[in-house]
Symmetry: C2
Subunit: 250 residues, 2 copies
């Protein structure tokens, strides 16, 4: 949380929070309440998307803060809520925060200026197994860009896709579509617990990463594009990459 965000929460009349678009880690609601100095009303998906009236009423009659994990407004649900508020004359302000979209890459020393379109892997259900994640990664690889691959979250069931499951899905896509983008020998990276003191960073062959243990979620996968020599070096020094695999010092 930023200092400006904390100050806003401290001085607001009511504080709400939702943790269904991401996962609270490294703190607890009780510790947040102690820090902010007031009770936090925790909302589920329904409380934000379908029945936000208590929040809007609090904001109409004073000030209200909604706490979220990560960069606010990255989820459509937050944009929708903001537009609802503005349309009925409630002035809104966003206190930006670190986002996995940049932090996952920068933790690895990969350039965010070479980040291509982000994609998300979802658990297949029934016949639903869209090829778009593979296509996004392929388009990025062709343009020399890095692909951040986010992993599915079912927070209501406390289920978070691990990097292992994600790597196996990517291998399955490669089997199906076969363009040499996410095969067992493809270079890939995993970051786990970004922002925590025990953040894990690994770079290696996708087939090997599928078997490694990265500790508790949240995890993210990155499929690097063309590497600048500084990026290759960073993957060796920061993420334990085999120098030969990243073309560094060979």
């Amino acid at each position: 949380m930023s200092l400006a965000g904390l100050e806003a929460a401290r001085t607001s009349d009511q504080v709400f929070a939702e943790f269904y678009t991401s996962k609270l880690s490294g703190t607890s609601i009780e510790r947040l309440e102690a820090r902010i100095g007031k009770a936090i009303h925790v909302l589920g998906r329904e409380g934000v998307e379908e029945d936000p009236e208590p929040m809007l009423e609090a904001a109409a009659g004073g000030t209200a803060v909604l706490l979220v994990v990560g960069d606010p407004m990255a989820a459509t649900t937050h944009i929708d809520l903001r537009l609802r508020a503005e349309r009925i004359g409630i002035h809104t302000r966003v206190f930006h925060n670190a986002s996995i979209l940049t932090a996952a890459l920068t933790e690895l020393g990969l350039s965010v200026y070479k980040s291509g379109r982000v994609t998300t892997l979802q658990w297949p259900h029934g016949d639903y197994f869209p090829t778009s994640p593979y296509e996004h990664i392929m388009a990025n690889v062709e343009a020399g860009l890095h692909s951040l691959v986010l992993l599915d979250i079912h927070s209501d069931e406390d289920r978070y896709m691990t990097a292992n499951e994600g790597c196996r899905l990517l291998l399955r896509y490669e089997d199906m579509l076969g363009n040499g983008v996410t095969g067992p020998d493809s270079l890939a990276c995993v970051v786990a617990g970004v922002g925590s003191p025990d953040c894990k960073r690994r770079a290696g062959r996708l087939g090997e990463l599928a078997e490694e243990d990265f500790g508790p979620a949240l995890h993210s996968i990155i499929v690097p594009g063309k590497l600048h020599f500084m990026e290759a070096r960073a993957l060796v020094v920061l993420a334990g990459a085999d120098p030969h695999l990243v073309g560094e010092g060979v």
Copy 2:
């Protein structure tokens, strides 16, 4: 600044800072020093890139913190410094922060998941006027993706490119290359002072934005890709777009 970052600075033996990769705003070095409770050694580009020994020595003999504006590790100079430290056995940790790369888009209600490659406009000098920014925007537009256009910074001369100058450069590219991407009637957005209470957001025709006043730097330009109806609505509600221009409610 994040609470975790503040705590790290408070408990570290020495605190350094650099403001040449971005611009400090909304606070001052004196206020930061009061908050952290110790003196801050402000470094220029040379002190980070060519002569970082004082920082590395402080870190080798205890703990040292380097404060930067925005998301750390987005600049190559920070990655290089981190690698130097790790290679001589100094353990490093990054306290991530809000980044213009996500905040500029989310302020406008544009989806960060549809963000294409970021590009930067530089002041032309002599014959140097690379076409790559226009090509990056064109590739993004073709893929339906949004283009964040960052603007040149010469912090040593206290010069920051305004959105007006940036829009005029984009118009000039369009004149030269003529692919209908950044013409005077193209939809574009400007954000100024992201993160400050008086953040400005505007969406309109590029030729018109080139003439508007956006207040003090830093500014950013966004050339939107294909708009989802929620994004179109957000540009109307949050950034004053003409509903007809964004295809909303027509």
